[in-house]
Each structure stands twice: as structure tokens, then as C-alpha cells.
């Protein structure tokens, strides 16, 4: 059975009526326009104001031409458990508190799952999903609810060769409005979609096979200093632990 990664073209179909977009020239227009506007304002003269107005229009022209960015993520892990066991683990949002990091899930009454994908600076990147199709022990397909960060995906649970367990594969497609700028903004709050999916799947594998997530948060350390603290951020060692891990550490 092949893993379906082609999720159709629905995500891009809605833009068929928009003008063709060229993100590079649009981005160039924004940068040039913004630069001209700033320069014009700094002149503090009528000519400067005129220049600023022209620059601002150029920037606006660029921003409206930047089309949506459509990204794809594909991650696969082989996990030494049966497809049914893994299906049950994934299907139950309760277990996510054992391993999920950077994703909070809240089940609403109407079956919708609200997701918080990253937060900071008083701003939250959220989405909401609904399961659109599933077969226990085999696959789960979902898509975002209207008004949320648009994406959809499918996770397959396929028996792995020999006695290796299950090949768990996630394929998802997401659309970010106003393309690269918003994507960059999103990455400030989270890690970007691919590491987010990959690391959470890795932690699911660790939880499913080893029963716990390997960690060094809370271990003794010598003086880190400025360099050490900066490196800790670079190596992503300052991220919050999954909620169950935090509860364990607080409890002792």
C-alpha cells in the first residue's frame, strides 16, 4: 500500500482567480519600497514626503502580490509496537501530554481538536483540526477547520518488514497566507512545521518503545556563562518539557 502524499490541489484551488504571484519580485518590491519610504521620511522635505509616498505604494503593491506559501512535510519512523497499539496511542489526545512538545491540544465538545502551535510575545499561533477519515490500526486523515491555520494531513500505520513493528508515516500540507513573511514569523514562535512534526514523532517513538522521553533538563551542571547559555538555546535545550514530565519534576 503506497503512502498517499498527494493531498489534492484544494489548498491552492481557491487562488485560481488571483493575479499570478511572483514572491521574489514581490519581496523585492516590499524591501525597495520600504527602504525608499524610510529614506524619503528622513529627508524631512516635501520632496522626501513624495518619495516616501511612492515607496509606501511600492511596498503595498509588493505585499498584496505575495501569494500564499504551500509547504509539505513528510516524516516517517519505524516503531517497535503494533499498528493497533500505535493507532490507539495517537488517537487519544490524553497520551499527547506524555510526549508532545510545542503542541498543546484541547478537545472541544464538537469533536474539533484545538491546537496551539507556538506562542510568544503575546501572540499565539493556533489551529483547529477535525478528523475527516480514519480506519483503526491503519490511518487517520484530518484537516483544519475553517478560519484556522490551513493544513491537512494523514498518518499511516503500516506493518514494518520482519519484526520491526510499524512504519508510522505522517504527510501533511499547509498553507500560510502572505507567504514567506508569515512563515518566517511563524518560525519565531515555533520551530517551523518540519522539526515540529519530526521531533514530536521522535518523542512518540521514545515514549512507545522506552516508556519515557530521554532528557537532561534538571541535571547538574557547572557554570554555563554567557557562551554556555547561548549554546543551550542554539541546541534547543531550553524548550519546555512535555506536561507529564513537568509534573514529575515538580512533584519531587
Amino acid at each position: 500500500m503506497t503512502i498517499t502524499t498527494d493531498l489534492g490541489t484544494d489548498l491552492s484551488r481557491g487562488d485560481a482567480n488571483k493575479k499570478p504571484n511572483n514572491t521574489k519580485t514581490a519581496a523585492a518590491a516590499v524591501v525597495t519600497g520600504g527602504g525608499l519610504a524610510a529614506f524619503g521620511l528622513s529627508r524631512r522635505s516635501w520632496a522626501g514626503l513624495g518619495l516616501a509616498a511612492g515607496g509606501a505604494y511600492l511596498a503595498y503593491h509588493g505585499i498584496t502580490r505575495i501569494g500564499p506559501y504551500i509547504g509539505k512535510v513528510r516524516v516517517s519512523y519505524t516503531i517497535h509496537r503494533s499498528p493497533e497499539e500505535l493507532y490507539n496511542l495517537v488517537r487519544n489526545p490524553q497520551t499527547w501530554s506524555e510526549f508532545a512538545q510545542g503542541i498543546e491540544t484541547n478537545r472541544k465538545e464538537d469533536g474539533e481538536l484545538a491546537l496551539v502551535l507556538g506562542q510568544g510575545l503575546g501572540f499565539k499561533l493556533t489551529s483547529g483540526i477535525r478528523i475527516t477519515d480514519e480506519q483503526p490500526g491503519s490511518y487517520i486523515a484530518w484537516s483544519s477547520v475553517p478560519g484556522a491555520l490551513e493544513h491537512r494531513g494523514v498518518v499511516h500505520f503500516k506493518p514494518a518488514p520482519g519484526d520491526r513493528g510499524t512504519e508510522l508515516s505522517v504527510a501533511l500540507e499547509y498553507k500560510i497566507p502572505a507567504g514567506t513573511f508569515t512563515q518566517a514569523l511563524g518560525m519565531l514562535y515555533g520551530q517551523g512545521p518540519e522539526p515540529l512534526v519530526r521531533e514530536n514523532l521522535r518523542r512518540l517513538k521514545q515514549f512507545a518503545e522506552a516508556g519515557e522521553i530521554p532528557t537532561t533538563t534538571g541535571q547538574p551542571t557547572g557554570t554555563r556563562g554567557v557562551r554556555g547559555s547561548a549554546l543551550r538555546i542554539l541546541y534547543r535545550e531550553t524548550k519546555a518539557q512535555p506536561p507529564q514530565q513537568q509534573a514529575r519534576m515538580a512533584g519531587d
Binding site: R164, K205, E209, E212, I213, T216, T223, Y235, R248
Partner: protein, 396 residues
């Protein structure tokens, strides 16, 4: 507690840090009674291992007494005397189940870093960079041991700490290097490097039935120790050409297998050696593979090159044409510790070997920074340094 902390290239400091605590249900806390400095620690000291952070606690060869266990550890209790392997393994993944313990999928919290460099991540190690987990190490008074139901080996009464400490790394490492040579009756094994791993590889090769071991180094005390293990020796500073010497000593055949027990800081006063050193000092390459080149050239056709020596990154100018056309096999890897610890403990109990023969220096915590320098520069006939983390007065 006191712990030996990395603060930069050639900068180590004994600091007072928090005691470790249980972080996961399969953890245990060990009060360390004996620890050691490894040759691979010197690569950290010399700044060749990437992803180190100031404040990291070093050390991966340690043993002691269990003082606390997590809620899911059933095979150990407080008071048990254990040796802790330097690799950390979950016991349940594909690799652990295949006895490939140093390749565990689930013990590296920073697996993404190793994946960027290597494609896939090996297991986490104690005290050996953040790419390999960033775990606090064992040159300290206490250590937190993850997956304590898999790693630590219980030691029976009647054996001293000195006799069993090296089950934590160097004895299984030398043994696996020799086992990887696929020794058959009549085989002659050549071993580059008469440091502690090389010394254990010599004795392990004989335990596994080698006809003869030829050991290569330049320091007289290390060559003498090799002779005491029944090896013939070559001092490479006294011969014209090591490869021709090996050909002469093996009836023109070449050694059946070659062990590189030196790794990335190989030394040589030859033009290729200066080239490697220059490139490495300019950080144009990570490793100095002089010994590896020699081993490939020297090995007989169809033979095995066994590599316990640690390498980190990319090598330059490897004679791969020689390797391919002579049909060489390469066997390598960090030691699959849990495979060897119990059987080698058995050999120690039977009196077949007393690993304490490599110890030349015993020190306290405060002496560790100087001891690294002494060990690296081979001063004072240093071969192996062991640490008593609780000693107040200078030991004998």
C-alpha cells in the same frame, strides 16, 4: 557535589554543583567510588569535539553504589555496587534488541544534532558533547544514570573497584576491537596504539586465539606493558617504515587484521603528519587519520581493519583504492557495552585477567585538570589515571 567541568579548550575546573536527581522513572542515582580519564576525553580537552558547552561535566568511566532508584527500576536497589557503561540504551528499540547497544534509537535527547551530521543518531553517551546527548558525566561524586534497568552491571563481593572499573569502557572496547578482527587460528593481529584500549586489545586478541600480536607505539613504558601482554613491539620512531617492518615480521603476508586504537589525534613526524596537523589546527578538517592510512596499507589482502579509535567528522586522503582492491572489511563503532560486560566480568572472576594492570596514577578530584595535561603529554610514564572522588588527602 564536586564535579569536573569543561570550560573551554584546555580549560577544566572542579566546581561545586547540585547533586543529581531522578528525572525519569527508569533513572538511578549512583554515588561514584571510582572514576577514570579516557583517551577520548583528551579529544574534548584539545577542543576537537564539537557541540561542547562551558559547564558540561565530563567523564564516562565510572562505578559506585546505587543510592536511589526511579519508580520503574526493579533490578537495582540502594546499596548495590555497580559498574556503569558509558553508552546509554533503552533496551527496547530495534538496535538494542539486536545487541547493537551503542546505536540505541531512544537515548539521545539531542538526536536531531547528530542526524544533521551523521544521517542517523547513535545512542547517548555520558559526558561526551551535546550531539551525543549532553548527559552529565562521571568525573564527579554522584551521577544520574538513565535506563538504569539496562546499563549498570552488579558487581559481586570479592572484587576490588580497581579490578572492575574498566568494565565501564576500555576493557569491552579493546575486547570488541579484537572480536571484530574475526580471529582464526594462526592469525597475526597488528595493533596501533599501546594506550589502555590497545593494551586490552592485545590481551583480548590472545584470549580470542590469536597466534601473535604486534603492537606499535613510541613510548617505552607503553611498549613494555605491551611486551608484558606477550606482544611483539614496533617502536615507529626507530624503524624506517612500519608497513615494511610488518611485512618482514609476518613472512611477507601482512597482518591478518589491523586495529586502530589511536583515533583522531594520531601523531607523526612525517610530511603527511604535518599536513594533517596543519589542516586540523586550522579547523579545515576534524581528524588526523594517519594510523588509519597505515592500517589500510599494512593489512593483508582480504583482511579486517578494526577501528575502536574515536573519529568525529571528516577524513582526508584515505587510500580507499587500496582498501577496495585488497577487499578489506572495516569493523567499527562505539562499543556495544551491554553485550560484553557480563562475559568479561566472568573472565575477571575466573582469574583470566586482572584489568588493574593499566593503572599508573591515582588522584583526587582537585588533581584532575593537571592530570588531563599529564595524560595527554605522556608525562611521568602515564598510562591510565583513576580518580577517587571522595579522597581528601593525596593518595599513594
Amino acid at each position: 557535589m564536586k564535579a569536573l567541568c569543561y570550560q573551554g579548550k584546555e580549560k577544566l575546573r572542579v566546581e561545586t554543583v547540585d547533586d543529581p536527581k531522578i528525572l525519569n522513572p527508569r533513572d538511578a542515582i549512583v554515588r561514584i567510588t571510582r572514576s577514570a580519564i579516557c583517551g577520548s576525553d583528551l579529544h574534548i580537552y584539545d577542543g576537537y569535539i564539537p557541540t561542547m558547552e562551558p559547564g558540561d561535566i565530563l567523564g564516562h568511566e565510572f562505578m559506585g553504589e546505587v543510592v536511589e532508584v526511579g519508580s520503574k527500576v526493579e533490578n537495582l536497589k540502594a546499596g548495590d555496587r555497580v559498574v556503569v557503561p558509558f553508552t546509554i540504551a533503552c533496551g527496547n528499540c530495534f538496535y538494542c534488541k539486536q545487541q547493537l547497544w551503542s546505536l540505541c534509537d531512544n537515548s539521545n535527547p539531542n538526536a536531531w544534532i547528530a542526524e544533521k551530521m551523521y544521517g542517523y543518531s547513535p545512542s547517548g553517551l555520558f559526558g561526551y558533547s551535546h550531539m551525543l546527548g549532553g548527559y552529565a558525566g562521571g568525573q564527579a561524586q554522584y551521577a544520574r544514570v538513565p535506563f538504569a534497568d539496562v546499563g549498570p552491571l552488579k558487581i559481586p563481593e570479592g572484587l576490588s573497584d580497581d579490578q572492575v572499573l574498566f568494565l565501564s569502557d576500555i576493557f569491552p572496547t579493546g575486547y570488541m576491537a579484537a572480536e571484530n578482527c574475526e580471529i582464526k587460528p594462526g592469525d597475526v593481529i597488528a595493533i596501533w596504539g599501546c594506550g589502555p584500549v590497545g593494551q586490552f586489545a592485545i590481551r583480548s586478541a590472545y584470549l580470542l586465539g590469536a597466534e601473535k600480536v604486534i603492537a606499535i607505539d613510541r613510548f617505552p613504558e607503553r611498549l613494555n606493558l605491551a611486551r608484558q601482554g606477550n606482544a611483539d613491539v614496533i617502536n615507529y620512531e626507530e624503524v624506517d617504515d612500519v608497513i615494511e617492518e610488518l611485512k618482514w615480521m609476518t613472512g611477507g603476508r601482512g597482518p591478518d587484521a589491523c586495529i586502530d586504537a589511536v583515533g583522531l589525534e594520531a601523531h607523526s613526524n612525517t610530511i603527511p603528519g604535518w599536513y594533517d596537523t596543519a589542516k586540523q589546527s586550522m579547523r579545515l578538517s576534524f581528524d588526523r587519520p594517519l594510523v588509519l592510512r597505515q592500517a589500510i596499507q599494512a593489512c593483508r589482502k582480504g583482511g579486517v581493519v578494526s577501528i575502536p579509535g574515536v573519529y568525529g567528522g571528516f577524513l582526508d586522503k584515505i587510500p580507499f583504492g587500496a582498501a577496495m582492491n585488497k577487499a578489506l572489511s572495516f569493523r567499527t563503532g562505539q562499543t556495544h557495552m551491554m553485550r560484553y560486560m557480563q562475559p568479561l566480568l566472568q573472565r575477571i572472576e575466573n582469574g583470566e585477567i586482572d584489568p588493574s594492570f593499566v593503572i599508573t596514577h591515582r588522584i583526587r578530584m582537585e588533581d584532575i585538570p593537571n592530570a588531563y595535561k599529564m595524560f595527554r603529554d605522556k608525562q611521568a610514564h602515564c598510562i591510565k589515571v583513576v580518580i577517587d572522588p571522595w579522597a581528601e588527602q593525596a593518595a599513594a
